[in-house]
């Protein structure tokens, strides 16, 4: 199977503090890969490196075939990114946001216009067209952000807590969008605090204190830890060893 993300012995230090302590994992093309961990476990640090925004201290990191040390610009062109905290510009309208992101990736006006129409129809945004993004319900905003993160047809999409605070029905619709893209061969790299969503991933990893504490399919992990659900495993691994020292 084709490899989308390859991480070998990744270490990231800030001064004496080891944020990522020798991480090893691979993500295959078309896989939905769940990235779990307590706040401060080192998830954001790792995601920043995988997105080409930060350089590793040591180790090998390849994303979409590009090297994180020397080809971070190439990585950025070939990935999409959205987060719960920041995804779209609040004081731009839906269309302006799409045009802005399309422009950043150097897409033609004709293509951007076509994509704009496509998203508005697909996500049923007709009634919101002229509104500023800040006036959109969070669920709609997040669905739009996901589409926009996909506008330049990246091979990997990074989703950082995309569903935090979203209502339970929209949260599930969001996962329908994720599945649809994964079926087209897109690789999805997603972090979440909803443990039911961990079960929707092909494989998950649980980070604890900068290290990977568990990695596998949800079913295999439940079997290995004799747990009924991922939440139990998470609590088992993260409780006790969790520190608040950073």
């Amino acid at each position: 199977m084709e490899t989308a993300v390859r991480v070998v012995n990744l270490v990231k230090k800030f001064g004496n503090f080891v944020a990522n302590d020798n991480l090893n994992f691979e993500v295959s093309k078309g896989e939905v890969f769940g990235f779990l961990g307590a706040n401060g476990a080192g998830k954001t640090t790792a995601i920043k490196i995988l997105c080409g925004l930060s350089k590793p201290t040591s180790g090998t990191v390849q994303v979409a075939g590009f090297d994180a040390y020397h080809q971070s610009e190439k990585i950025k062109q070939n990935i999409g990114y959205m987060s719960q905290k920041f995804s779209l510009y609040d004081d731009l309208t839906i269309k302006e946001n799409i045009r802005f992101y399309g422009g950043i990736y150097g897409l033609s006006s004709k293509f951007i216009k076509q994509k704009t129409d496509e998203y508005i129809t697909q996500l049923q945004l007709e009634q919101y067209q002229k509104r500023f993004v800040k006036d959109l319900p969070l669920g709609i905003k997040q669905k739009l952000a996901f589409s926009v993160a996909n506008i330049h047809n990246p091979s990997i999409i990074f989703l950082d807590e995309p569903t935090s605070g979203v209502d339970p029905i929209t949260r599930r619709q969001f996962w329908d969008l994720i599945y649809a893209e994964a079926h087209k061969g897109k690789t999805i790299f997603v972090s979440t605090h909803y443990m039911d969503e961990a079960e929707y991933c092909d494989r998950i990893t649980i980070m604890v204190d900068g290290k990977i504490a568990a990695l596998g399919t949800p079913n295999n992990l439940k079997r290995d830890y004799k747990a009924n659900n991922i939440s139990e495993i998470f609590l088992l691994l993260a409780r006790g060893i969790k520190s608040e020292n950073h």
Binding site: N39, G40, G165, D167, R172, H183, M195, D196, K242
Partner: protein, 302 residues
């Protein structure tokens, strides 16, 4: 005083958006009352009105005997509020923030230390660190300490656990339980349905209206539709097939299972037959009791 909070016919609009639609609720003294709903449900607007930070368009609200509009000065001395956005001074240290909040309420850290001790001792090792440099979990604990330092009778916590990991969420609810033991009425909002079970009573809130108010146990037991957990090897195919099935009223993923609610006059036999017709192997179908999230979603669709 039996009721700590009496809310009558409260409404608030922003332009043509109705944030709260004629809401009436009584919250009992000493209970943990949860507003369960997602972003845009109206939780924050309601909290701002109840903490006297915003004036309602219609209706009245009384908190521990004080009218939220007329008696706001007295009310503010007696309530603690932890807003959804981190609102402490980022460039003051942990200790300076706490001193500041104690100071404006004309008290001192020493005077009410017993109230915050369990929480504050967890962040005390970092008391000289600036609040802006704290981790998410520590910020949350500091904000709670600051909201408690003047010994409020009622505490409002607006989405204290959004974006917080499972472990820290569990710890936070332990803290709330111990505060309840001290007689503080706690009003908390959350988008996490599993936290509803930790409240004495909850209101499910959606688009400015209350869907239901009851104890978590009653909300679940008053839900009379049959509900089944369904599992199959190919998740994607299961989802597609079950969505197409004429007997399906609703079907949603809950972790590894799909929760299936049949239309009237259908049951697990209908589903079994359907799967047999489609040549499914290893199908798992089990009748289950509804969770708060099941109930919430069914009420949302109504």
């Amino acid at each position: 005083m039996n009721n700590a909070i009496i809310i009558q016919s409260l409404s608030k609009s922003y332009g043509d958006v109705e944030a709260l639609k004629n809401i009436s609720i009584d919250i009992k003294t000493g209970e943990i009352f949860g507003f369960i709903g997602s972003d845009g449900a109206g939780k924050t607007t309601l909290f701002r009105i109840l903490t006297s930070l915003m004036i309602p368009d219609h209706g009245t609200a009384e908190v521990i005997g004080f009218d939220v509009v007329k008696d706001y000065k007295e009310l503010r001395k007696n309530l603690g509020y932890m807003p959804g956005q981190f609102s402490l001074y980022q460039d003051l240290t942990v200790k300076e923030n706490l001193n500041f909040f104690a100071g404006i309420f004309k008290t001192s850290i020493a005077e009410n230390y017993h109230l915050i001790e369990d929480i504050y001792k967890q962040i005390e090792p970092f008391k000289n660190r600036r609040a802006g440099k704290l981790s998410g979990g520590m910020k949350q604990k500091l904000a709670l300490s600051c909201a408690l330092i003047h010994k409020p009778k009622v505490l409002f916590l607006d989405e204290p656990t959004t974006g917080v990991d499972v472990v820290s969420r569990a710890e936070f609810w332990e803290i709330l339980k111990s505060l309840k033991q001290q007689g503080i009425t706690i009003v908390v909002s959350t988008p996490y349905m599993d936290e509803a079970a930790l409240c004495d009573r909850v209101a499910l809130i959606q688009k400015g209206a209350i869907l239901t108010i009851d104890t978590p146990e009653n909300i679940v037991s008053n839900f009379h539709e049959p509900i089944y957990a369904v599992k199959a090897e190919n998740r994607h195919k299961l989802f597609e097939d079950i969505s197409k099935f004429e007997a399906t009223k609703s079907a949603y993923w809950f972790g590894e299972n799909m929760h299936w609610i049949p239309k009237e006059n259908f049951d697990e036999k209908s589903l079994e037959n359907y799967f047999n017709m489609l040549n499914y192997n290893n199908i798992y179908i089990q009748k289950i009791s509804a969770s708060i999230e099941d109930v919430f979603m069914e009420l949302m669709i109504k």
